[in-house]
Symmetry: C2
Subunit: 572 residues, 2 copies
């Protein structure tokens, strides 16, 4: 490393500095992009990466997940994290790619709703362990066939390749995967962004999983399985013609086994049937019997233009697996215990790239909704603040709150219209789960969802729909409270005012007080309350117009009716 | 692509799905991580990537930048972006890496304050162009030696390798680089997050650059160079011993040319002299004459432990190039025209990883500070809202506001303590520039800075320091306004109240009014004002204590005194 030169550099001199770097080196220098910096955040992210891998593996293998997380304190800011699952296990060949190579894995290229999707997370943890402690991560994994294996794994960052050591068979009965890794520069606490809260929220969104946490102080916390049926497995799906771009079509065409463009389109795309094909044929300048490998960019453009015009049926929703209205209702009622709860599951939609997604929203009001801030108000009640619980494919999102589409959608709503005057300080918990075959995260750290237009729109519609239902309840409650508060306030000051007026006017205090009470009760209270009621009622009416279309309530997983004209039935 | 199976998958079956992917494929699927999604955002990011490359190249070659950006509308949501600079140019060998390969370039491995630092941005634009239009990006570049060359470039995403076509020499005199690329799915608007505002802010932070924008409607906007001296070039620096971790030390030791650990440490680290070496030797279990390539992880740990203990002099600041208090003051005064302006440049500090950084903050209050929201208030004045202008190494940050350390630092301040009661709606512009040899961005899109503890602390100290100075001004102004408003308010209602009291008390209205006026002027006004003044004064005193240490005002680029005990002088 030179000490730097202050001479002006020529193109040739600058050229000497050109170097190439591996993706592992890039993320090693930018651990913050993986959510692996910050003493508390890093520890939560580690737990998140291992646990989501376990849940995904169990789901794919149709196993009811039983996951144990143990965090041991080895020294100051020095911890060992062990995550053990009862999943399908890893083979000798796959363990290196799963834990010792970035951008390798099963998830990146599949159109399937999974928690992980990048093939970066767990390998990033392996790297973090080795750069903070110099130690390898230990793995024991058994697939049910043959003996389980144990091994130690690190990454060579310059090559982005796994290094496996001490590979051995062990003579025990074990099916599943156990990862044990050490990390320095961490801190285990009990806060809103810490492992315990992360696992609590994971349990809320995954009632079929049994999750155990053993804390550094040996305390064992078990989130019991409350539902014994394995959720239907998400399906790997084909891209929907809406939202596919020319480059993607062009790339798919080069690798297809179809002999004609028409059969290529039918086999590679969701909702593509004979009617659509003949509609396309009518409007493009070439014969769809053509070899797809011979398609030019311009011809692909013609096809995509037709994709945009045709009213295809909405994307398959049977590939997506929402948590479901009833399960969310049950979870929130049992954990948040609100006075009022409104849950909306929207139907599936699609965002650019042809990725289907779906939004589930719950608004819980009153009771224990919102988060307590340990401040006691004048009425002796603990003040509560609005809380947003964000999930992506059922995995909780705890960080980068401000940058997330869910937060932005919540903030974009004018909550006053729904009768919530001071939204930030209202006893409200907003639950939102976005599911998709590909969540557009803002960063490789998967902490926040990018604000794609279509996703924002669906989130807003769900929030407004849910908000409308809550508004009726809130408005009534608010009116009652206001009436009470106003009366109390005025009556509290009447004696003082009367006393002051007595001085000014030299009239008797008793008479003044009576007159004031009359004034308050008759004039202020009645008139203002009527006005207020009218205003809220007007606002609710106006908001209903706002959403643009009438959304059918309580209708998750229904296929019909998203597009106004369905010209094409897709085949299964 | 299969239609998905709902059979349970075994480890072997899952193993078949394991694949490896290139970093180009990863970002191609996750363009949002590069800031290259969203019609407006993508266009601004494209301009950002090309312009920062131009500014960096000019800076390194000691050239006063003259940059022309032209955006042409080719069709609906279809644009051509051309960026031409007068920089040092690219050679045949480097142009492919600079524009056609991700994670290649001069910036990633150098400890040097540059706008770009990843080797991803411009190559990401090449990829975006080809996947939205199918077209290559055109480049003309001349280095001053021989004829300029022209060529077309695309990326092979599967290999992350450049593909160059139509390479030719051209017989014109041209030194610099011109890139012309086409993009679909964009929208040129004139908003706070659009190219024009981006370039305006770039001009604020780079007064030595001449920047021209030709808008799609052919309108030409020139941000003139206001300062003709080239800013001192940032130096490539060595890592500071504070903040280096064991892994980094271990890696450096493996590649050093030093023969002994002692000479290795002295040549590879900033501020490392003989005194520090002998201090380390006293406290480690091995001889520093040892071959550095033979250092074990545990020995590296011993050394890093000593690094933490020794009070090294603060990192070299001559590698960092703040904009400077006077330049910021001039820029903000000319553009924001505030009533009051307070600018603070903190001294350099270091965050984990051994990266020096420095913070510059300006608070502009009143006048045209803040952003207008087109709402006219009761006094007939346009209401203004608080505005944050964020910069990293002089490049404006327009997106992911909520997730950025600068925003978080601003929000963490209790502005009431500085006399600003309703911060969000105050006429305030907060300017903040973070400079560093490595900005810890939250994502490869470089839109927001990660909230590293040390950076947050410095930002907070700068904001508080700057805020304290503004507070005096604001408090005085506030008191005056409050007095005026209160008086006006009370006097407005006195006739009405007097009338009401006349009814209640049956006394003469004239006398009541006089009594009320007396009451307002004497009791309310005087007492409350005194109380208020006392309160603000107390708060300011308390806040001063808050910052923990007395910061010297107006002292950018001074080396002395950051550490209490300096046991070691670094050598140049």
């Amino acid at each position: 490393m030179s000490n730097g030169s202050i001479e002006a550099a020529s193109a040739d001199e600058i050229a000497k500095e050109f170097k190439e770097h591996s993706v592992a080196e890039f993320f090693k220098k930018n651990m913050q992009m993986l959510g692996l910096t910050g003493k508390i955040k890093a520890l939560t992210t580690i737990v998140h990466e291992y646990v989501t891998n376990s849940l995904d593996a169990c789901e794919e293998a149709k196993i009811l997940p039983d996951i144990e997380v143990q965090i041991k304190e080895l020294g100051s800011e020095y911890y060992e994290v062990t995550v053990k699952d009862n999943g399908p296990g890893l083979t000798k060949e796959t363990v290196g790619k799963a834990l010792g190579q970035l951008l390798a894995g099963t998830k990146f290229h599949r159109m399937m709703q999974m928690r992980g999707q990048q093939g970066i997370g767990a390998a990033g943890c392996t790297m973090l362990s080795q750069i903070t402690t110099g130690k390898a991560s230990q793995v024991i994994t058994g697939t049910g066939k043959g003996n389980p294996i144990s091994l130690e794994i690190t990454i060579d960052p310059k090559k982005n390749q796994p290094k496996i050591a001490n590979l051995a068979e062990i003579k025990k009965n074990f099916k599943g995967t156990m990862i044990k890794a050490k990390f320095k520069g961490m801190k285990y606490v009990n806060s809103e962004q810490a492992p315990l809260e992360y696992l609590r929220r994971t349990a809320i969104a995954n009632p079929h999983a049994q999750i155990t946490l053993i804390e550094p102080n040996k305390k064992k916390i078990v989130f019991k399985r409350t539902l014994k049926d394995i959720p239907k497995q998400p399906l790997e799906i084909k891209p929907h013609p809406k939202g596919i771009n020319v480059d993607e079509l062009n790339t798919l065409a080069k690798y297809t086994t179809g002999r004609q463009v028409s059969s290529f389109l039918k086999s590679e795309f969701d909702r593509m049937g004979d009617k659509a094909i003949s509609e396309i044929q009518k409007n493009v300048s070439f014969d769809l019997k053509k070899d797809p490998r011979q398609l030019t960019w311009e011809e692909c453009e013609e096809i995509v233009k037709q994709f945009k015009k045709i009213n295809f049926i909405a994307p398959r929703t049977d590939g997506l697996r929402p948590i479901g209205e009833e399960r969310i209702r049950k979870s929130l009622n049992s954990i948040v215990q609100p006075e009022f709860l409104s849950v909306v599951t929207r139907r599936a939609s699609v965002y650019s790239g042809g990725f289907p997604f779906q939004v589930e929203v719950g608004i819980a009001y009153g009771g224990n909704a919102g988060k307590g801030n340990n401040v006691v108000n004048d009425d002796g009640l603990v003040e509560r603040k609005m809380e947003i619980m964000r999930f992506a494919n059922r995995a909780p999102l705890l960080f980068d709150t401000g940058g997330c589409a869910i937060t932005k959608a919540v903030q974009s709503i004018d909550w006053k219209r729904y009768g919530v005057r001071d939204f930030e300080n209202a006893p409200i918990t907003i639950f939102a789960n976005l599911i998709s075959v590909h969540i557009p995260y803002t960063s490789a750290g998967k902490q926040a969802i990018s604000d794609e237009i279509e996703i924002m729109e669906e989130l807003r519609l769900a929030l407004m729909d849910s908000g409308r239902r809550a508004a009726q309840y809130i408005a009534g409650k608010k009116r009652e409270q206001d009436k009470k508060m106003k009366k109390e306030l005025f009556f509290k000051f009447i004696p003082e005012i009367a006393k002051a007026l007595e001085e000014i006017t030299k009239k008797g205090k008793g008479k003044i007080e009576k007159n004031l009470e009359h004034l308050v009760l008759e004039k202020l209270k009645l008139e203002e309350d009527e006005e207020e009621a009218q205003k809220i009622s007007d606002e609710i009416k106006e908001t209903s117009k706002d959403t643009g279309k009438k959304t059918k309530e309580n209708s998750p997983n229904e296929d019909e009716g998203l597009m106004e004209e369905v010209v094409e039935e897709g085949e299964e």
